[in-house]
């Protein structure tokens, strides 16, 4: 797709889409008729000529420097490898059903359900299971819908497209669950012109998910087809080291695949990402090494703290101290990702010059 506008769409297409480094966050989709997310891909449909362009400003992979990124985190215990935070805990949903449906401790589902019930949020943008197609964003309004979408996909979902559509349709008090790239895109949206501030005001809470990388959904589908995996995948999992396997659950039960093979299916754009723990979120959630039904929760903003503490006080979520060993491991993993990204970025710069 060739664009006629040199500033906006054209730059995004040339610098991100054509380079194959789009991470399919969906932030540029749904703002205009020109971008579309379908079946695991973000694509340009037509050449844009608009003077007002937002796509480039919100893209987490574009090197556009006009977007102001402002940390809103005031009270932090420090700005370390896992980003600024006020509190870090081991936590899990009290309700066993919520835990079983979700990934590990079911914290994301529990926080969203509680926020919905309390009326803190009216809806949430989450990622659906795809039902055999690629996962994609979905606006949900009930606990049952949240539970239907629970669980990690390990693939990008373009779910911010669903957020953009919801905002355009007039929704407010929205909770958003997304990967680190998507949290960064939201931060960029907040600083974007002409209406980023107004748009992001509709988002009440941002829940970020730890992420080492995400898979290219189409590559994954082709891979699974070659491996004769039929029917929709119900659940994905990468057990903590040293298992080195990628597992998935279908009607035929669990199947394991060597992680070494799966790494070839990772999105190219993920190699440039330095953020493992979703530093731009209000609350970040990930696994807790060695504890199958617990999560690590990183509380970052006042808003995040408010949501988390309310859920704990209400008995929806139980929280404990995060063992020091786990924090060390987390910081080490985050530092490794940051280092890998730094090297990858340097390599790209070298190639260009």
């Amino acid at each position: 797709m060739k664009s006629v506008n040199p500033k906006g769409q054209k730059t995004l297409i040339e610098d991100v889409l054509d380079q194959g480094i789009c991470v399919k966050c969906g932030a540029c989709v749904g703002l205009c008729p020109y971008f579309s997310y379908r079946d695991g891909q973000v694509v340009a449909l037509d050449a844009c000529a608009a003077e007002t362009w937002r796509c480039l400003q919100v893209c987490p992979r574009a090197d556009y420097e006009g977007t102001s990124l402002e940390r809103e985190i005031k009270d932090t215990r420090g700005d370390r490898e896992i980003g600024p935070y006020s509190e870090i805990r081991a936590a899990r949903a009290k309700d066993r059903k919520t835990r079983n449906g979700g990934q590990y401790g079911g914290i994301v589902s529990a926080l969203l359900i509680r926020a919905l019930e309390k009326g803190f949020i009216k809806s949430a943008v989450v990622t659906d299971s795809g039902n055999g197609l690629s996962p994609s964003g979905k606006l949900v309004r009930s606990p049952s819908e949240i539970l239907e979408c629970a669980g990690s996909r390990y693939s990008a979902s373009g779910c911010l497209a669903a957020l953009n559509t919801a905002i355009s349709a007039g929704e407010d008090h929205i909770g958003v669950v997304g990967l680190p790239c998507q949290m960064e895109a939201l931060a960029k949206t907040a600083g974007s012109t002409p209406d980023g501030e107004e748009r992001i005001r509709r988002v009440t809470v941002r829940i970020g998910l730890f992420c080492t990388w995400a898979l290219d959904y189409r590559k994954l589908r082709t891979y699974l087809k070659e491996k004769n995996i039929r029917g929709p995948v119900k659940k994905y999992d990468i057990p903590p080291p040293p298992s080195e396997v990628f597992r998935l659950l279908t009607d035929d039960g669990w199947s394991d695949f060597p992680l070494g093979e799966i790494r070839f299916l990772v999105q190219k754009g993920c190699s440039l990402c330095s953020d493992m723990t979703a530093e731009w979120a209000d609350i970040s959630v990930g696994t807790l090494e060695g504890q199958d039904d617990w999560n690590t929760v990183v509380v970052r903003t006042e808003r995040g703290a408010e949501f988390f503490h309310e859920a704990v006080h209400a008995g929806f979520v139980e929280a404990e101290e995060l063992p020091g060993k786990n924090l060390d491991h987390l910081e080490e993993a985050a530092a490794n990702k940051r280092a890998r990204a730094g090297a990858a970025r340097q390599e790209r710069t070298d190639q260009r010059t």
Partner: protein
């Protein structure tokens, strides 16, 4: 009431060139007429179809031109008179049969009419079909006026019976669509009963060399007649400074130019009506009279090369000549000839100032028009299902993201190569060729080809020449995704019926050849969708793109013009809700007017908002889907029409 064209008695009528050809056939007592629609030829069959209501005559639209010529030939073999008509590309299709038929010879008078389109104004090519007369060794006549079109056609049947071979007539757009007064003769109601003489010599091409020689002899017979033909005529001084040899329509331009420049005493015009074989005796006489010869003809230097070729053998008999024409650069070698071109060329040759007479009027008129009439690009009509189809194709190919493309074909939808079809069509050639190409792309995978290809044909094109290519894909197990834009009409050429419409050329009810059943029987997966439901159709196309093997998607929606004609229009009143349209502030970049491009939508620059042009909008409702602000609203038409 009887059609004027079918009146038995001769009269003076205002006739179009193609109507005159049809009348000529009627006056020759033609029994059988077949053709395939294509501009500028279609009116011949249409006129004869009208006449078939009054006269004992059979007329058909055939599925393609080869079949048309074959069907017409059956009448000839059975002793009846027959005419087959088509455009220049059609002769290509028919040519395989033609080059064999001319070896076997014919019985009842049979005439092949080719209406060429110089300039390729409504064609995919510019082509001179006269070369087929040369390679088939058959007589070729080229009328200059509607009167001659009638006279030549009538005589062509006699000539055909005289030499026992098919005769070709070549018209061009300008003549086919010109109207002038024509003196008609009497219609001959041929009492002949078709009979195939099973005891006579068979119609075949063997022994080939003998038949080939025989064909040459027939051509020589024709040449003998051509030497005396009234269709060739000379006007001018006995020894002109310049001899113009003009064929067909171009004779008019040459006469006009000579008249305007007042060159009657210097320039002579030899009007040639019998083009192949060239009347060499006649030409030799005239070549002797002048040293400079200018050839004026449409498209290829057919007469020019032919005359120069035998003149080379005449040598000293005619002396050294200066040959002017396409070969010398004095006439352009592409495009349609015109009076203005002739004026310029002649003025140049005689050192005259190019005449300004017509420019005095035409020049200001042209600049006035250029200022006040906005340029128009090729575009689909408002309500055209093709716009919606290409929008869905564009979306699906973008989603697929493997640099897929459309292998196009011939019809209104060829315009899919331009912005009106979102530039989706990447190749267009001959009827059905898009499908043949697609069957080839479908076998490139073993070399690493990973781009999906959608081949798009219309319903009439599908029946014309796409089916063998589809069979080829099935037979050779090629991945092929065929989209048939079924708009229930041969729309581009004027809504002629085809095998899928349930009507014949003569207006009789007939079976509908179900393309879905046909494709299924060839092993293709067949789906049917409504192009007006763009999003859903895009998803259907996307899903089919992910599959392998032979897939056929029929996008079925009546041509908007047929819808208007048959159903009295569309159900919706469209309106851009002005408070919802954000104009330039939207960020959509005037998507509706700039990208979707239906002529019924425009961007009002003063108001800074999109609007519906209620004069142009037909109310199909499709655009209600495209606005990101949902500002384009459709409501039932009646609500607004009450006032």
């Amino acid at each position: 009431m009887m059609n004027e064209i079918s009146r038995k008695r001769g009269n003076t009528l205002l006739l179009q060139g193609n109507e005159a050809i049809a009348r000529g056939a009627l006056e020759a007592g033609v029994h059988f007429s077949a053709g395939y629609p294509g501009n500028p030829s279609s009116e011949i069959v249409e006129t004869l179809a009208k006449a078939s209501k009054d006269l004992p005559l059979y007329v058909e639209w055939s599925t393609n031109e080869k079949v048309a010529l074959e069907a017409a030939t059956a009448a000839s073999f059975s002793g009846c008179r027959a005419i087959a008509s088509m455009k220049q590309n059609g002769v290509n299709v028919a040519s395989d049969f033609l080059t064999n038929l001319t070896l076997s010879g014919t019985k009842g008078g049979i005439v092949l009419v080719s209406c060429d389109d110089p300039g390729g104004i409504s064609s995919t090519n510019e082509e001179d079909a006269r070369v087929f007369a040369q390679i088939s060794d058959i007589p070729l006549l080229e009328p200059a006026t509607p009167q001659e079109a009638l006279d030549m056609t009538r005589w062509a049947f006699e000539l055909s019976e005289h030499i026992q071979n098919i005769v070709m007539i070549r018209s061009v757009s300008r003549l086919s669509h010109t109207r002038s007064t024509v003196k008609t003769g009497e219609i001959f109601e041929n009492p002949g009963i078709p009979y195939y003489d099973v005891n006579g010599p068979p119609f075949n091409t063997f022994p080939i060399l003998l038949k080939h020689r025989k064909r040459h002899e027939k051509l020589a017979q024709a040449m003998a007649l051509f030497e005396q033909s009234p269709f060739n005529r000379y006007d001018g001084p006995d020894a002109p400074q310049l001899l113009i040899i003009a064929s067909g329509c171009c004779w008019n331009y040459a006469s006009e130019a000579v008249d305007i420049l007042g060159l009657e005493d210097q320039v002579g015009i030899l009007k040639l009506g019998t083009i192949w074989p060239l009347p060499q005796g006649l030409l030799k006489n005239f070549l002797k009279r002048a040293e400079r010869i200018l050839f004026v003809e449409d498209v290829e230097p057919f007469v020019e090369d032919g005359v120069m070729s035998f003149a080379a053998r005449l040598g000293e008999e005619i002396g050294i000549k200066t040959w002017l024409g396409k070969g010398s650069g004095h006439m352009p070698d592409t495009g349609e000839t015109s009076p203005r071109l002739l004026l310029e060329t002649l003025a140049g040759l005689f050192d005259l100032d190019p005449p300004t007479g017509s420019e005095v009027v035409a020049g200001p008129a042209r600049s006035e028009l250029q200022q006040n009439i906005p340029p128009r690009e090729f575009g689909f009509c408002p309500g055209c299902p093709h716009r919606a189809s290409f929008n869905a194709i564009k979306t699906a190919l973008a989603w697929d993201n493997r640099e897929g493309f459309v292998s196009g074909d011939i019809g209104c939808y060829s315009m899919g190569m331009w912005p009106t079809g979102f530039n989706q069509v990447k190749s267009v050639h001959a009827m059905g060729s898009g499908v043949g190409l697609a069957s080839g792309y479908g076998k490139l995978e073993k070399f690493g080809f990973d781009q999906p290809v959608i081949t798009v044909v219309g319903d009439s094109t599908f029946f014309h020449a796409s089916i063998p290519a589809l069979i080829n894909a099935s037979f050779n197990r090629a991945d092929l995704f065929l989209v048939i834009l079924d708009n229930s009409a041969t729309a581009m050429t004027g809504f002629q019926p085809h095998p899928g419409t349930g009507k014949t050329a003569m207006g009789e009810e007939t079976m509908i050849v179900e393309m879905e059943d046909l494709c299924s029987s060839l092993g293709a997966e067949v789906q049917i969708a409504d192009p007006y439901e763009m999003s859903r159709t895009a998803q259907t196309i996307y899903d089919l793109l992910q599959k392998r093997g032979q897939r056929v998607l029929i996008l079925r929606r009546k041509c908007a013009l047929v819808q208007e004609r048959e159903e009295g229009g569309f159900p919706f009143h469209m309106e851009v809700q002005q408070e919802k349209c954000l104009g330039e502030a939207c960020g959509c970049g005037r998507y509706c007017a700039r990208i979707f491009r239906c002529p019924g939508i425009f961007f009002n620059k003063e108001k800074g908002k999109a609007e519906i042009d209620q004069v142009i909008c037909v109310g199909c409702g499709v655009c209600s889907e495209i606005c990101p602000q949902k500002a384009i609203e459709k409501t039932p038409k009646g609500v607004h029409d009450v006032a």
